[in-house]
């Protein structure tokens, strides 16, 4: 197991380096530097700016400095557009917000999705099943950018129950809509996956044996069926995590929650490459780490897997 984790890390680190180098080269290839404006700067000023940000050095040297700064000092460098702010400042101000509603949405999607799926599987072909399947089919076509305006329309404009945007760590009423908007479509997918895998497990031999032994039904489901049925769900958690982070961009834009998604889109519109790269690398790191955790969890739950 330990060797497996080490081996996985040995792949993860080069992947990250590749991501950094790739985005750095992309930035270098892009037409128009960070300081090209509608009115051209005098060449002397431009040269000074390039020197200040180290852009006059050879490419390999720039990459080295950038990687070194990230790895050793966890420093993503300065923003190219707002000279008084560093990329770290922007990330530090937005990340706690994204993390809060992202985690909650993630947990909500899993809890609701798994419950729906299990209920549908246990009462297969009853109205409960049809209801759960109906909900999950309906929710599947409601991605975050569709849910967000619908929620605002209903809860802010019509019923005036929830604030239509903004963020406060102390007032959960600001959290409700971002979480629902983010979670809905993944909740649906998780419900579908849970249902079909639970149906398969419930039809398998070890469940029949457990029932034949006279184990009460709730114990059969909780102790014997749920664990193997969760395996496909767990392997789906990696993609869900990525999509949630991606979805946070829409949430931050639409609800003005002020997370890193907002910083990302702003920097995209401003061509602030340094911020974009910093956020991309941060998100990439999180993704890779999360996938690692998911794989370990999978190996831990599934006794058939040996490493």
């Amino acid at each position: 197991m330990f060797a497996y984790i080490l081996r996985r890390l040995a792949v993860a680190i080069p992947t990250l380096l590749l991501l950094i180098i790739f985005s750095f080269i992309l930035m270098h290839l892009a037409p128009g530097g960070p300081f090209s404006q509608e009115r051209a700067l005098p060449p002397q000023v431009l040269a000074n700016l390039n020197a200040k940000y180290g852009l006059d050095e050879p490419l390999w040297r720039q990459i080295w400095n950038y990687v070194y700064g990230i790895v050793v000092h966890f420093d993503f460098g300065p923003s190219f557009v707002y000279p008084d702010r560093t990329v770290n400042d922007l990330i530090a101000s937005g990340f706690p917000v994204t993390l809060t509603y992202g985690t909650l949405a993630f947990v909500a999607a899993i809890m609701v999705g798994v419950s729906l799926g299990v209920v549908a599987a246990i009462w297969h072909n009853t109205w409960l099943d049809y209801l759960a399947v109906g909900i999950s089919i309906g929710a599947q076509v409601l991605p975050n950018f569709v849910m967000a305006p619908i929620l605002v329309l209903i809860f802010t404009l019509w019923y005036r129950m929830l604030p239509g945007g903004g963020w406060s760590f102390n007032d959960p009423s600001f959290w409700v809509m971002p979480i629902i908007a983010l979670a809905t479509s993944y909740m649906a997918s998780i419900a579908r996956i849970t249902r079909s895998s639970m149906l398969e497990v419930l039809g398998s031999n070890h469940i029949r044996t457990a029932r034949a032994k006279g184990i009460p039904e709730h114990r059969v489901i909780l102790r014997h069926a749920l664990k193997p049925a969760m395996l496909p769900v767990i392997s789906y958690l990696g993609p869900v995590f990525v999509s949630m982070i991606t979805g946070s961009v829409v949430i931050d834009m639409y609800f003005s929650t002020g997370g890193i998604g907002k910083a990302f889109v702003d920097s995209a519109l401003n061509r602030d490459y340094a911020v974009m790269m910093g956020i991309t690398i941060l998100v990439g790191t999180l993704t890779i780490l999360f996938n690692l955790v998911v794989d370990i969890l999978y190996a831990w739950i599934d006794p058939k897997i040996r490493y």
Partner: protein
């Protein structure tokens, strides 16, 4: 009674090919047929919508401009079937245009994925060994990258054009496809007919193109239908953020974004109509995709 009669007739006529079998299963699937009807409706709307439209998508209606909330609602009389947007442009023809672009992005993105993913996956799976490991490891690495961020990075750096959007979406969409195709190829490559081809000296490329790929079509068709809505979702996501399709062009994502920004002024139709087409199209594709999977791969249920 009728079903008995029809089965008896069929027995008399001839044996059924697997494709005919699949078609029958598909036609019997109500959800899939319903989805197909929806898709046909949306496609007809995209193709012939402009014939019905009274206004073009660029014309400004000066009677409405400035008082969209009161004058711009959907009405048959002034020709704005879906109302107008807040500039006074006809939302019906804007929706037609958005539908065309969104469908196009979805289909082209899926087509790139199908071609690139099938060839890549089939090659990796058929050649096997170290080549396979290397190729699939590359896919693993690419998949662990948060592609939406990279896609936006690409769009910002190289200009927000439709061509770039196609390229960007195509670049990331083939990864899943290549994995699925590789898995299928692995199970195909030791079959007798492949062995026979190899024994008679057919070259590797020819075996892949002539013998492996045609046998993958079922899986590829299923996955491609499920891929189109994902591509539409991706494009709409980016356009919703204002980073995708740019004015005067539009797409569902851009229209939904516009509608969601103006709904506070009471112009709900600006959100409702694009949203309606977006949602029913996704429904249609998901139903048809599920139906195809059940039809082509009955044991997978």
């Amino acid at each position: 009674m009728q079903s008995l009669a029809s089965t008896m007739v069929e027995h008399e006529v001839k044996g059924r090919s697997p494709w005919a079998d699949a078609r029958k299963r598909f036609v019997r699937n109500k959800a899939a047929m319903f989805g197909l009807c929806i898709l046909i409706f949306v496609v007809l709307f995209a193709i012939f919508g402009n014939w019905i439209a009274v206004w073009s998508n660029e014309e400004l209606d000066f009677n409405v401009m400035g008082q969209v909330a009161t004058m711009g609602q959907p009405s048959i009389e002034n020709g704005h079937y879906f109302g107008t947007d807040d500039l006074g442009r006809d939302l019906f023809s804007r929706t037609v245009q958005g539908t065309q672009i969104s469908l196009m992005v979805g289909v082209v993105g899926a087509a790139i994925a199908v071609i690139a993913g099938t060839l890549y996956g089939a090659t990796a799976g058929y050649i096997g060994g170290r080549t396979d490991q290397l190729m699939m490891r590359a896919v693993d690495i690419l998949m662990s990258i948060p592609y939406m961020f990279v896609l936006i990075l690409l769009l910002v750096m190289f200009g927000r054009s439709i061509a770039m959007l196609f390229l960007g979406i195509g670049l990331i969409s083939w990864l899943d496809m290549s994995r699925i195709v590789r898995g299928q190829t692995l199970s195909l490559k030791n079959r007798e007919f492949i062995e026979a081809a190899r024994a008679t000296g057919v070259s590797t490329w020819k075996i892949i193109i002539r013998h492996i790929v045609p046998n993958l079509l079922g899986v590829v068709a299923v996955y491609a239908t499920l891929l189109v809505p994902l591509m539409i979702l991706t494009e709409s996501f980016i356009s919703f953020l204002g980073l995708g399709v740019q004015e005067p062009l539009t797409s569902w994502g851009a229209l939904i974004s516009e509608g969601s920004k103006t709904m506070a002024y009471g112009t709900l139709w600006q959100l409702a109509f694009p949203l309606f087409f977006f949602v029913i199209t996704l429904f249609g594709f998901f139903f048809v995709g599920d139906g195809l999977r059940d039809a082509l791969d009955p044991k997978e249920r």
